[in-house]
Amino acid sequence: MRVILRNPRREVDVAGNRRVKDILRELDIMPETVLVICGDDLITADQVVREGDTIELRPVMSGGRAGPA
């Protein structure tokens, strides 16, 4: 299955048929730092993604200081 990462945008292939939390652990990404997007939906860390699926791990952290966030 394919995982889309951002900042910078890139794609990696990982083994599917397992839970999102297992994929996040393999990629060393904390669940609280990303949205997990599958198609037009958000999915939770306990959901299983299949071999042919594509998910996007969209970072939620924004930075800089003292202005409109």
């Binding site: 860390a45 306990d46 969209r58 970072p59 939620v60 952290m61 930075g63 800089g64 966030a69």
Partner: protein, 301 residues
């Protein structure tokens, strides 16, 4: 994982609340948190004009979306920082958002006001880019609000932003900064408008989820100058703490606001003057913004 309210499949788990929500119930949870922030701190009323500072990012556009839906009288303010393609794209996102909802958007360019865009300001001052950028934003937000007779500016600062700022202040024991950290800063001078942060109860993952579920087209790419920013490092530290102990950020910020902040409020008031150049509020004779503009104009011309 099931929605805590309706039992349907959840789309988002909120570990700090020990809960998960389906999309409709999460959107309502989010709006309730904004309503509670506005109510608790008496941020603004439906009769007041609210200037919403928007950057094209998830937080400020999510905030504007909620306020519009709640029936508040809002105008957006986009400050064009002149940061290459990032500013071009983020401005386009704000214009598209405003046009789709039929709400007014003001655009002010830092280049026109300071004499150069943020990347040049960084070169001239030799200070971190966020420094000149933040100074310009605070000044221009207040001045634009005054010019348009709006008594309050709302920004999209979220719980993570506030916790990271607090962490930075505590790390350096900036005791003068601690009393100024608040979800709602009152006007302390006729030329200072109120500043409020209606998203302070919501994490940035929650604002990102809200923006996604509301199909808000926001800029996902990070500001090119944010890489290496101290506030990002602080957020990463706090996120590790949150991962190990859900609710850590919430407890840190809300504990400060509820119990510690009053201890840092100083009895003596700071004397506020009007800048002899621009008339805006300063503690000195010439405000920091005018000094910055002078410095930039000397070096650029």
């Amino acid at each position: 994982m099931k929605c805590r309210k309706c039992g349907e499949p959840a789309v988002l788990e909120l570990r700090r609340h020990n809960a998960a929500f389906c999309a409709p119930d999460f959107l309502e949870f989010f709006r309730n948190q904004v309503r509670e922030a506005i109510r608790k701190h008496r941020m603004f009323t439906r009769d007041e004009l609210v200037l919403v500072a928007v950057s094209g990012g998830k937080d400020s556009l999510a905030l504007w979306d909620v306020l519009i839906d709640e029936g508040y009288r809002t105008t957006g303010l986009y400050l064009d920082l002149g940061i290459f393609e990032y500013s071009v794209e983020s401005k386009a996102k704000c214009e598209k958002f405003a046009a789709a909802r039929g709400v007014p958007l003001l655009v002010t360019a830092v280049r026109d006001e300071v004499g150069a865009p943020v990347p040049v300001i960084q070169d001239v001052t030799r200070r971190p880019p966020c420094s000149g950028c933040g100074l310009s934003k605070r000044y221009l937000m207040n001045r634009v609000a005054l010019e348009h007779e709006m008594p309050v500016v709302a920004t999209g600062h979220n719980l993570d932003d506030e916790a990271a700022t607090l962490f930075g202040s505590v790390m350096h024991w900036q005791t003068d900064a601690l009393p100024r950290q608040s979800p709602a800063l009152p006007s302390t001078h006729p030329k200072l408008v109120r500043r409020v942060k209606p998203l302070y109860r919501l994490s940035e993952r929650e604002t990102a989820a809200f923006a996604f579920l509301r199909k808000i087209d926001y800029i996902v790419e990070e500001c090119p100058f944010a890489k290496g920013a101290t506030s990002i490092a602080h957020k990463e530290i706090l996120s590790r703490m949150e991962d190990a102990s859900p609710g850590a950020k919430h407890n840190f910020l809300f504990g400060f606001l509820d119990r510690a902040r009053p201890a840092f409020e100083r009895a003596e008031a700071v004397t506020l003057n009007e800048c002899v150049r621009c008339g805006q509020v300063t503690t000195g004779t010439i405000c920091a913004f005018c000094k910055l503009a002078d410095q930039v104009k000397r070096r650029v011309s």
